[in-house]
């Protein structure tokens, strides 16, 4: 798998201006998180359960964004990382990077859900934000009460 730069994805999410651009960056970010989490689904590591659940949460988030009416279609075929080689290698490092990206997604998607008037976009953003929050909680242990 081509290692994508999680940090670059986070930058894109934070820098996205309008809703369509933000949705497109969120879609790619979820795709990127899915691929990265699957890379670390190794039962030998103690993070195995967290990565399994995070990967599925990323797929759920991607599917939600795909249904947003304001998502540009067809999406721009951006090369992941655009030349920025490599992503996090170690599971713990990957978990931190994914947590950071998911945190950025939560902020942007929740804000977008509050601002948009279209119910389809609102639902998509709200659900996708929930999936991003789940990823953050899984990888940081924040959901452990």
């Amino acid at each position: 798998m081509v290692m994508t730069s999680i940090g670059w994805q986070a930058q894109r999410v934070r820098a996205a201006a309008a809703l369509p651009e933000m949705l497109e960056s969120a879609r790619q970010a979820f795709e990127c998180m899915l691929a990265e989490a699957e890379t670390h689904e190794d039962p030998a590591t103690p993070l195995f359960p967290a990565f399994v659940l995070a990967a599925t949460a990323a797929a759920n988030g991607r599917d939600a964004v795909l249904l947003a009416p304001s998502l540009p279609w067809p999406p721009r075929d951006t090369l992941p990382g655009e030349g920025q080689a490599g992503g996090p290698g170690e599971p713990a490092q990957a978990a931190r990077a994914l947590a950071s990206l998911s945190h950025a997604l939560v902020c942007r998607l929740e804000t977008a859900a509050g601002l948009t008037a279209r119910s389809g976009d609102k639902d998509a953003c709200r659900y996708a934000a929930g999936r991003a929050r789940a990823i953050y909680d899984l990888l940081t242990g924040a959901g452990d009460d």
Binding site: P46, V52, A55, A59, L66, L71, L138, G143
Partner: protein, 598 residues
């Protein structure tokens, strides 16, 4: 197993009541009352044999072996118990009102036995009912095992043995002095006793021909009532025993849920439910692997010289393979979606609860949850199995768990087949090359559907292997869950993955032919191109059928086909279930188009 009442409990109680009650009567006991109480037992036993005679007489084996010894035994038992009941029926008398007098001594014990036997019959009825035409109605996942011939034979053997005990008691009563009452009941008891001994003689003869394995009798006795334990979640104060019991109870609920899903006509699956289940099954089998490795370590400590530890380690390896195969399911599901009328997100189901219960057993953290995040420490093996007797109980919990995962795989595999036939399996359009559509999701190409069903098959097989391995250990160490393996064998579900079709049927009206499939595999959604592909597929099929039907059309050197074979071949082409038209035409290269992974 949990501590719920089983069919064996009722049998044991009835056996205790009818055995050795033929003593001399205490003062005030009336022979007519006692005779009627015995009759009640006989009537209930007769109801069992009525069901058994119908079942064994109309079962699938009848056509092959219409006069099998077991069928003869069932028919004889039914006939003789009816005859015994007739002997014991009192003559009609306006002065007789036996129902209003309280029974005493022997009569009370017989009445109690009749109640226990009736309760046992009702327990079995909660799993298998009977339709008006006599066909069995399966109500729970126990039904396939209970309607199997070996288990029915085991039940007949139990009934015959009880009838013989009642006969012995009847004889003792008939010859004991001191009873009040007329000589009529003594004679009736002797004649009834003669009838009641005959079923056991037939069963003995049938057993010589085809013995009832002890495991089948054990399975019959272990059948619980159909009511499931209530849904519950582990609390921080649950000890190991409580966690084991909770795991088993949840596994029972998951197994029932899978059985219900498999027997529903309307598919209930959604993307959410499938993804939840796949993740939970991945983690659950991971926990099973860790628990089995802990059990192996404890077994090695307790039996350094035996093979127990190695066998358990092999079962742990099998659980590891189940985990890997469920992970493949989870990954595949992340790339498809199911079209459902209501796409409302669903909360995790009971499979997630099972992952939680097994996780609590596995990890030291008493508040561990699926979303607990990174790294948690596993329990030391000595905590999981402090003593020798804890090992079989731990094996039982794991065995129940792996068994229900296999049931889940089967139910979901079948529902996905139905969803595929209905064109309800979708993929993100972006994951296909040349997808030109405004829809974010399009109908999955056949290659994706085949992959999806394939990973489910693998997960089902791997879970079944792991459950079988755990079941073997359960038998070996005497774990209570060993009856699960017997039930699986009796029901014939232990080899379902060997017979499951590898592809879904292609003869449905909506199913694409090879050309349409190839076009769809390329991500083409243009109605014009798809219609052309469909038309060409139909023309292909027609050409094959015409060629087969054409007299003397064969051009190779193979022997000429029989005239009657043509129609059959055409039918085979039409029905081509697992057969590709491309295969019929000969080896063709239909390369899988490269798919762009999302």
């Amino acid at each position: 197993m949990t501590s719920e009442a089983t069919f064996g409990d009722f049998l044991d109680d009835a056996r205790r009541q009818v055995t050795g009650t033929g003593r001399a009567p205490a003062g005030g006991e009336d022979l007519r009352d006692t005779t009627q109480s015995i009759r009640r037992v006989v009537v209930v036993l007769g109801r069992y044999t009525r069901d058994l005679a119908a079942a064994l007489g109309t079962g699938p084996r009848q056509s092959r072996d219409p006069e099998s010894p077991w069928q003869q035994a069932a028919a004889a038992a039914h006939r003789e118990l009816n005859q015994a009941a007739r002997y014991l029926t009192p003559p009609v008398s306006p002065k007789l009102n036996l129902g209003t007098r309280p029974s005493a001594g022997t009569a009370r014990k017989m009445d109690s036995a009749a109640v226990m036997l009736q309760a046992g019959r009702e327990l079995l009825d909660t799993h298998v009912g009977t339709a008006a035409d006599g066909t069995p109605i399966h109500r729970t996942e126990w039904a396939p095992a209970l309607t199997s011939h070996p288990v029915r034979q085991a039940l007949l053997a139990e009934v015959a043995e009880l009838a013989a005990r009642v006969a012995a008691t009847s004889d003792q009563i008939a010859s004991a002095p001191g009873w009040r009452g007329a000589p009529g009941p003594r004679r009736a008891l002797r004649e009834a006793g003669h009838c009641l001994r005959i079923p056991a003689e037939f069963v003995q003869a049938a057993s010589q021909h085809e013995p009832v394995p002890a495991a089948q009798r054990e399975l019959l006795r272990a059948v619980p009532a159909s009511a499931l334990p209530p849904r519950r979640l582990p609390g921080p104060r649950h000890d190991i025993a409580g966690l084991r019991e909770g795991t088993i109870a949840t596994a029972q609920r998951v197994r029932r849920s899978a059985w219900r899903t498999a027997t529903q006509t309307a598919p209930a699956i959604t993307t959410d439910s499938l993804r939840h289940n796949a993740d939970a099954s991945t983690l659950t089998s991971h926990h099973c692997e860790l628990l089995l490795r802990a059990a192996a370590e404890r077994a090695a400590a307790h039996f350094p010289a035996s093979d127990a530890s190695q066998e358990i380690t092999r079962a742990a390896d099998a659980a590891g393979r189940a985990r890997a195969s469920w992970l493949a399911v989870a990954r595949t599901l992340r790339r498809i979606t199911i079209e459902t009328p209501d796409n409302t997100p669903q909360p995790p189901g009971e499979t997630s609860h099972l992952a939680l219960w097994t996780g609590r057993l596995t990890y030291t953290d008493p508040s561990w949850t699926l979303v607990s995040g990174p790294a948690h420490q596993t329990r030391p093996p000595r905590m999981l199995a402090r003593s020798l007797t804890d090992i079989p109980l731990l094996i039982s919990a794991v065995h129940h768990t792996l068994d229900c995962l296999e049931a889940n795989a089967g139910a979901e595999h079948d529902q996905l087949q139905a969803a595929a036939r209905a064109g309800r399996i979708l993929v993100p359009a972006l994951s296909l090359p040349r997808a030109e559509t405004c829809d974010p999701f399009i109908v999955a190409p056949q290659s994706r559907v085949t992959d999806l069903l394939g990973v489910y098959r693998t997960a089902g097989q791997a879970s079944a292997h792991a459950a079988t391995a755990a079941g073997s250990i359960a038998r070996w160490v005497g774990a209570p869950s060993r009856v699960l393996a017997t039930a699986r064998a009796a029901a014939g579900t232990d080899n379902r993955w060997r017979s499951a079709p590898r592809r879904i049927a292609r003869n449905g009206a909506d199913w694409p032919g090879p050309l349409e499939t190839s076009v769809r595999d390329l991500g083409v959604t243009s109605p014009w191109l798809l219609q052309r592909a469909i038309a060409l597929d139909r023309a292909n099929a027609q050409l094959i059928m015409d060629a087969v039907a054409e007299p003397g059309a064969r051009r190779d050197g193979s022997p000429a086909q029989k005239p009657s074979g043509s129609a059959a071949t055409v039918a085979a082409v039409r029905a081509a279930d697992d057969c590709d038209l491309a295969q019929l035409l000969g080896p063709t290269a239909r390369p899988e188009p490269p798919e762009r992974e999302p």
